[in-house]
């Protein structure tokens, strides 16, 4: 429990740089490991802390409204105020009728150890929640959020939903492996996958798995096709930038995109399962990825039409016979303006 308390995210808000540095230093010395700071009340929205410590130096005209907003937006956040006796304390005391607004007020000057002891007391009450949140964060760093959600539901049910599926794959990886030192290859590949995963997250998708030298990502919701194609175009631009950067090894990727019903859930035996998304549309996206040269996106024509995104350099590929599909699929390729960036 104590580790959950000490690794809870704390945010110190202090407009005075020196006092802020001193508080951050003191809290870290006291054993808190996740301590961040900012100068303005308005910057609180940039963080997701378990506890906010406000060091108030003077009465603030809109402090009450800010605290109300924070509590409404983040009901689980605890608020601790440090105030000097006098006018500012009287201002804060006037909020006593709203016990949910501020959790604890400490009057300065503080007795040594009082602040950290108070923080520990406040967080200890929430230790089970904090532990659970910490486990979720740890799981989310190695699993897609959908997998965490499904695992927590405990029924391990398989879900049938509409998703946009995006596959990437490094082109010419065999040549790269031969040409580069092993470490250089792995570093370059991981840089490329890191940039790809960041783009997926920016576009509200989630990486389901890394597939050796590529990845599979899915996008949910009404705007999924739009977001998936936006992500694919971002990856294409990334690829084009890399192609012109002579200082880096190019890990050019081909991209395949499809949309439709998929099955998601845990697959495997009773000793080891993994979360996956499967189905005909997943196969389609993978097959289209295999057709895409580096820097190109290949997708069904009707998927492009549903993306509502203006796209240049589109080439119709006609009705393609895709392995495993009885009917041909009308597809198109989105290329890049500079033909030099493309290689198969």
């Amino acid at each position: 429990m104590s580790s959950a308390v000490e690794s809870a995210a704390l945010l110190v808000v202090d407009e005075d740089d020196y006092a802020l540095a001193m508080l951050l230093d003191g809290l870290r010395t006291a054993g808190f490991t996740q301590v961040a700071g900012c100068n303005a009340l308005a910057r609180v929205a940039d963080h997701e802390p378990a506890l906010i410590i406000f060091n108030l130096h003077a009465p603030i005209a809109d402090a009450h409204a800010h605290f109300q907003f924070i509590k409404r937006a983040h009901p689980k956040v605890s608020i601790l105020l440090l105030v000097a006796p006098g006018e500012i304390q009287r201002q804060v005391d006037a909020w006593a009728d709203e016990p949910a607004l501020v959790d604890v007020t400490l009057a300065k000057p503080l007795r040594e150890g009082l602040l950290s002891a108070t923080i520990r007391q406040l967080l200890a009450v929430r230790a089970p929640d904090l532990l659970s949140e910490q486990r979720n964060r740890n799981l989310a760093s190695i699993l897609p959020q959908a997998a965490v959600d499904t695992a927590q539901a405990l029924d391990h049910a398989v879900q049938l939903d509409e998703r946009s599926i995006l596959f990437t794959d490094v082109r010419g990886s065999s040549t790269l492996i031969e040409r580069l030192e092993v470490k250089e290859f792995f570093d370059g590949l991981n840089d490329s996958l890191t940039a790809q995963a960041a783009s997926v997250r920016r576009n509200q998708g989630e990486v389901i798995k890394f597939t050796g030298d590529g990845m599979m990502a899915v996008f949910r919701g009404m705007a999924r096709v739009h977001l998936a194609l936006r992500c694919a175009l971002e990856l294409q631009r990334l690829d084009a930038t890399q192609a012109h950067d002579s200082t880096r090894r190019r890990f050019g990727v081909g991209i395949g995109l499809a949309d439709g019903l998929v099955l998601s859930g845990f697959v495997g035996d009773s000793t080891r399962r993994q979360y996956d998304v499967i189905g005909a549309n997943v196969h389609l996206a993978a097959r289209l990825c295999a057709l895409a040269p580096a820097g190109h996106i290949v997708l069904p024509q009707d998927t492009l039409a549903r993306a509502y995104l203006p796209v240049a350099n589109v080439t119709a590929l006609g009705a393609l016979a895709i392995k495993g599909f009885s009917l041909a699929v009308r597809c198109c390729a989105i290329g890049v303006a500079d033909s030099e960036t493309s290689e198969r």
């Binding site: 540095a21 003191g26 000097a84 006098g86 000057p109 040594e112 150890g113 009082l114």
Partner: protein, 103 residues
């Protein structure tokens, strides 16, 4: 009650003393605020009888005397510690001391 240090200046001194070890002037300031509250309370308290009035006057006079004594003490302490009396900024040597202590 006459004050050499208004509420804003008292709050500023307290504000710079986050931990007890470096907060001697801040402790004096806290006592000053307590005396001001006590004085104000006596001023506002009801004088239902002549005896009430004498009680309130006695307490208010003592509070004012103690307040004057502690304000002089604060002024002297700030000089001894080397505070800038215009800006009321805590001297750097005391600030460094506070960083080394825990919170």
């Amino acid at each position: 009650m006459h004050s050499k240090f208004d509420s804003g200046r008292v709050a500023r001194i307290i504000d710079q003393a986050l931990v007890y070890q470096c907060a001697c002037p801040a402790q004096v300031c806290s006592a000053l605020i307590g005396l001001r509250d006590l004085y104000d309370y006596q001023q506002k308290c009801m004088d239902a009888t002549d005896n009430d009035r004498r009680v309130h006057e006695t307490i208010a006079a003592a509070a004012a005397q103690a307040h004057a004594l502690l304000e002089q003490c604060l002024q002297d302490v700030l000089v001894i510690e080397g505070w800038d009396v215009q800006t009321l900024r805590m001297p750097d040597n005391l600030r460094k001391k506070s960083v080394k202590t825990g919170v």
